[in-house]
């Protein structure tokens, strides 16, 4: 593999590159170009070492963008890593560890990164100001569908989704601990050590591969080790904090095994030691590749021996950034000048820089970056004399450079603190928000708490660790311990600057970026104020400032500063926008964990499932069940199979696997009374040995379930529910028993899985049962005289222990035979064998539905939608007029449920008998060529009926029952009109003679 030399990698002699192993070179590609790096590099450091400054294009204007940060704060350098199905988009290059053969690509550019058509947006940017989406894509209406939506969809997002199914494994694990410390810098480690030493079970999560945070870039440079007795997770990012100290941590795993692991942690105490994030300053073209944070520039130099450039400018309002200039000077990594807005910088670091001979331009501001024509490389900055409060510059001078290291101060990383309602207060000493109160047992320490001095941070962290441990272990808190006092800092004070004054019209090709990731500029925020978005949350939504994965990490306080200057209100009065989880983007695989494919949802199968599969059934989901839909055979299509199955039931006999039907045993002294209150009709009067169809309402008076209930004994009923409703109804019964009628002595037992149940339906059904009876021990008399319709019998049939219910959902003579589930498959096969000479045919759920529709029977969920009363579907006769109370009774009396104009269930016959209306088609009062048409109802079920050799449909139509014979018009997609006549919903055998033989 040929490798390009890495021109910005400094030689070993400089003593830099703490994290890289120069003995282990690695090859990788970026946009197809072969490059090299070292073990220990991040993708970002390796790209910079190779002189690759341009790594992406911005979201809206497609401006060239480079690497700005060092870790989780990176908002520009989002890349895609991996090929094909393993591709992962939108990764921060600063957090991608380099490995041999890594394939990375830039995003949001076409046709190539250096020449991108979309950058024309930058030229036309005056036409796409803040709130552009809300202002532009409004009219004409027809443009929305064909132009705006496709355009927005293509422009949306940055990376591309992987091309196939992710083959990686993901894992989730649930743990509890006493103290969870987030952040493995000096503060986090001190807190964890103190908590563990106090006897608490402590976990610590660190985003980076190694511990120590950014201590090496500030005062301390010691090696950091995991404290004893602390469970330390590196490469693990705390994504979110939820109620009662429930946190999600995402671990990036190495080697074999899962790709990522999601830790779901419940901690008694949480210590947030997430450090602080350096913030940018808004000056013209502050987004050019080569403008980076001062800490990041220092980090690439110290950790990876990568020079940020040859001639640098450090632009700052505080002392810390001087460290970058000092490191550059000390290591001979080119020339450097400090531009400091403060008139009289005077801290210890400033003095050190002066002694080192670093040029310092005090009271000066960087107003603008000059770059090459394509904007991809910096040539100089414009600088000018600065005093606080000035708004326009008159005289600028030019300072040649090829990179700018910026520091506008530090924002404590309060995201985790705020996810679940932690309060903040604005601190004028650090010009940033810091943690205030939290309702959960949560502590913030170190830089995350705005405590930037190392000694003070360590003291406060140890204190928090001990106190958190004491509270977690329910010991009394050490009352003699007091929170440590802050030592006076040896540093000069920070002076706030948000927006460097400009000499030119500042949104005309000279943008001052606040939120790099969402391309939000100072001008956008100011425009939002002029347009009246005075609430900070409204400004955020209008401009998209602080949205997406950045979540205000770099842009939040900077934007608040700009709003403050634009409105003249102090920052604390403006308020702060909400920080939302996740802290960093996470891949969907981590969210799903192992719950994908067959583990996504537990699929329920009946005891006969394998027979259905072996006999060519197609399946449909019903609740969590898979039910046989139809059984195509001999090359027939589904429609042919369904028609064949239906005609077999009507002419001979069919066999249906009804095992999924919900079955609930209701037992106890008051079982009858209880059912009287649950159903609209009466069950206490039902005789033992008999069955009754019941209708169940909710308290609003609307139908929620139906089914046949059999009385097994005086104190014992077996309720059948819909297949999808079994669990819901069992919970419903329990709720009423426990909460409203605890005086009733009733026990509820769901027994759906205990029984296999089959419907033998058709004119020859009884003959099948008699044939089976002849094959073995039988004591059930199935003759019409001794086994009437709507009764049940128990006993033996062909040697099987059975309960037989003479009930019918097809309108034919029908027996539903239940047997213990373990015997289900044998009974099914015995029925098929016994019925073979009679032409018995297995039928599926679609045939079942057509058969019941021919009879006008409702299906809860088809004919009902949660707003339908018994009267609406013509079942008012099932509503008791004598019972004093049942669920929903009082609501049914409400005037609007009895008023004229409600939709009523009717049958429909289309003019053309071959025309099958689509489910959900609406009938309209009047057909109009344009504009909305008033609907008077809709189709609830619609089928081709092989029995009637024509289409049939059921519909809910306004005053339907009083419109018999009326012809309605259904406009369909594409402008086609279908006419249908209202008829009774009972299409077949209206007298019900066939089931009663």
């Amino acid at each position: 593999m040929t490798r390009t030399a890495a021109p910005y990698r400094l030689p070993h002699a400089a003593g830099l590159g703490r994290l890289i192993d120069r003995d282990r070179p690695l090859g990788f590609t970026f946009d197809g170009q072969r490059l090299s790096g070292y073990a220990g590099d991040t993708l970002a450091s390796a790209l910079l070492a190779n002189g690759r400054r341009l790594v992406g294009r911005s979201f809206k204007y497609h401006r060239p963008r480079g690497i700005v940060g060092l870790g989780t704060e990176e908002m520009n350098a989002l890349v895609g890593v991996g090929l094909g199905a393993d591709h992962e988009p939108n990764l921060q290059a600063t957090r991608v560890e380099l490995r041999d053969g890594l394939v990375a690509v830039s995003q949001n550019r076409w046709p190539s990164l250096s020449f991108d058509i979309g950058q024309i947006n930058d030229v036309f940017s005056r036409f796409i100001p803040g709130g552009f989406y809300y202002k532009t894509f409004k009219w004409p209406k027809s443009f929305w569908h064909h132009l705006y939506e496709p355009l927005i969809r293509r422009a949306a997002g940055l990376g591309r989704a992987p091309s196939g199914r992710d083959s990686s494994a993901y894992e989730q694990i649930r743990v509890d601990c006493d103290v969870l410390v987030v952040g493995g810098g000096p503060s986090g480690l001190a807190a964890a050590q103190a908590a563990a030493a106090s006897g608490a079970r402590v976990m610590l999560a660190e985003d980076q591969p190694s511990l120590g945070g950014v201590a090496d870039l500030y005062d301390a440079s010691d090696e950091f080790r995991a404290p004893p007795d602390v469970m330390v997770l590196t490469r693990t990012t705390a994504l979110a904090h939820f109620h009662h100290n429930y946190l999600l941590l995402a671990e990036r795993c190495l080697g074999e095994g899962p790709r990522q692991r999601l830790w779901k942690v419940r901690a008694k105490e949480v210590i947030v030691a997430t450090g602080a994030i350096e913030r940018p300053i808004a000056f013209a073209n502050n987004d050019r590749p080569g403008v980076m944070m001062a800490e990041a520039a220092r980090g690439y130099l110290a950790r990876f021996a990568v020079a940020p450039g040859e001639r640098g400018v450090v632009f700052t309002n505080n002392d810390e950034a001087y460290r970058t200039a000092l490191l550059v000077r000390r290591t001979g990594a080119g020339e450097v000048t400090v531009v400091d807005i403060r008139k009289h910088p005077e801290g210890a670091l400033v003095e050190e820089a002066r002694r080192a001979g670093i040029p310092i331009l005090a009271g000066t501001v960087v107003s603008q970056v000059e770059s090459t024509a394509a904007g991809q490389a910096i040539e100089a900055v414009r600088i000018a004399a600065f005093r606080p409060g000035m708004s326009r510059l008159l005289r600028e001078s030019r300072l040649p450079c090829d990179y700018v290291a910026v520091s506008g101060g530090y924002n404590p990383a309060v995201h985790l603190w705020c996810h679940n309602g932690g309060k903040l207060r604005y601190d004028m000493a650090i010009h940033a928000y810091r943690p205030d109160r939290h309702r959960d047992r949560m502590w913030a320490v170190g830089a995350a708490n705005g405590t930037f001095d190392l000694e003070a941070a360590l003291a406060e962290s140890r204190f928090a660790g001990e106190q958190a441990a004491a509270r977690a272990l329910a010991r009394s808190m050490a009352s003699d311990m007091v929170a440590p006092q802050l030592k006076p800092r040896r540093q000069g004070a920070i002076e706030p600057i948000w927006f460097a004054p400009a000499s030119r019209h500042y949104n005309d090709g000279h943008k001052h970026f606040v939120d790099f990731q969402n391309d939000v500029t100072v001008a956008d925020l100011e425009l939002a104020q002029r347009e009246g978005y005075s609430s900070v949350e409204h400004t955020k939504r209008y401009t998209t400032w602080g949205m997406a994965s950045d979540q205000g990490k770099t842009s939040s306080v900077l934007g608040l500063g700009i709003l403050s200057e634009a409105t003249g209100r102090p920052i604390p009065e403006i308020g702060v926008t909400t920080f939302r989880p996740p802290f960093t983007p996470l891949t969907f695989g981590t969210v799903a964990g192992a719950q994908k494919g067959p583990l996504f949802l537990a699929v329920r199968q009946t005891p006969v499932h394998d027979w259905h599969v072996a006999n060519g059934a197609t399946f449909e989901p019903v609740g969590h069940w898979r039910r046989a839909y139809c059984y195509p055979s001999g090359g027939e299509d589904k429609a042919a199979a369904i028609a064949r199955e239906i005609l077999s039931v009507r002419r001979a006999v069919g066999l249906l696997d009804a095992s999924t039907l919900g079955k609930i045993e209701i037992r106890g002294r008051d079982a009858g009374t209880f059912l009287d209150r649950i159903y609209t009709n009466s069950f206490s009067t039902l005789k033992v040995g008999r069955c009754r169809y019941g209708l169940m309402l909710n308290e609003l008076g609307f139908i929620i379930d139906d089914g046949v209930t059999a009385r097994l004994a005086d104190d014992h009923f077996l309720m059948h529910t819909t297949s999808g409703g079994a669990d819901r109804i069992a919970a419903w019964l329990e709720e009423w028993l426990q909460t409203e009628w605890p005086d009733l002595q009733v026990l509820i037992t769901p027994v759906t899985e205990q029984w296999a149940q089959f419907a033998v339906a058709g004119p020859k059904a009884r003959t099948v049962l008699e044939a089976l009876a002849a094959t073995g021990e039988s004591d059930v008399d199935v003759t019409a005289g001794s086994f009437p319709f709507m009764s049940w019998r128990a006993g033996r049939l062909g040697g099987f222990r059975v309960r037989i219910f003479r009930i019918s959902f097809s309108g034919e003579l029908s027996f539903e035979i239940a047997t213990p589930a373990r015997d289900g498959l044998r009974l099914w096969e015995a029925l098929m064998t016994a019925g073979a000479p009679l032409g018995i045919t297995a039928y599926g759920t679609e045939a079942l539905h057509v058969l019941r529709a021919e009879k006008g029977y409702i299906v809860v969920g088809d004919e009902t939608d949660g707003t339908v009363t018994p009267r609406d579907v013509g079942l008012d006769g099932l509503v008791s007029k004598t019972k004093r109370d049942f669920i929903g009774r009082r609501s049914l009396e409400q005037s609007f449920l009895r008023a004229e104009g409600r939709k009523e269930l009717v049958g429909l016959l289309t003019e053309d008998p071959r025309e099958v209306l689509p489910d959900g088609a609406h009938a309209v009062r009047e057909v109009k060529a344009n504009g909305p048409m008033a609907t008077i109802g809709h189709v609830t079920s619609s089928y081709m009926s092989p029995t009637l050799e024509r289409s049939i449909a059921m519909a809910l139509i306004e005053n339907g029952r009083s419109r018999m014979g009326e012809t309605l018009t259904f406009p369909l997609e594409g402008g086609r009109l279908v006419k249908a006549t209202i008829v009774s919903p009972v299409f077949y055998d209206p007298q019900g003679e066939r089931q009663n033989v």
Binding site: H244, Y246, R439, E699, T739, R890
Partner: protein, 94 residues
Amino acid sequence: MLLIKCPVCGVEGDETDFHYGGEAHVKRPATDRPDRVSDGEQRDYLFMRKNPRGLHFERWRCDRGCGKWFNAARDTVTMEFRATYGIREEPPAT
């Protein structure tokens, strides 16, 4: 993700192991006097619910434990469960 302890069986678990059942102590007028429930009473029973900032009495079911319903007094601001108690019991003095 609330942490909840069932007062009936004593098991402690995440809120996803429980089922929220809305405001507690809502009286169903029809249970006592089904023939004399005014439209207004029925409306209040069906739809009118408290939405306090602070202490809220509410129903929960121990879904993956004992299956029993119970009442809880929870602070809607701090999310603290001040008390849990039997489904038919009156709220404790607070």
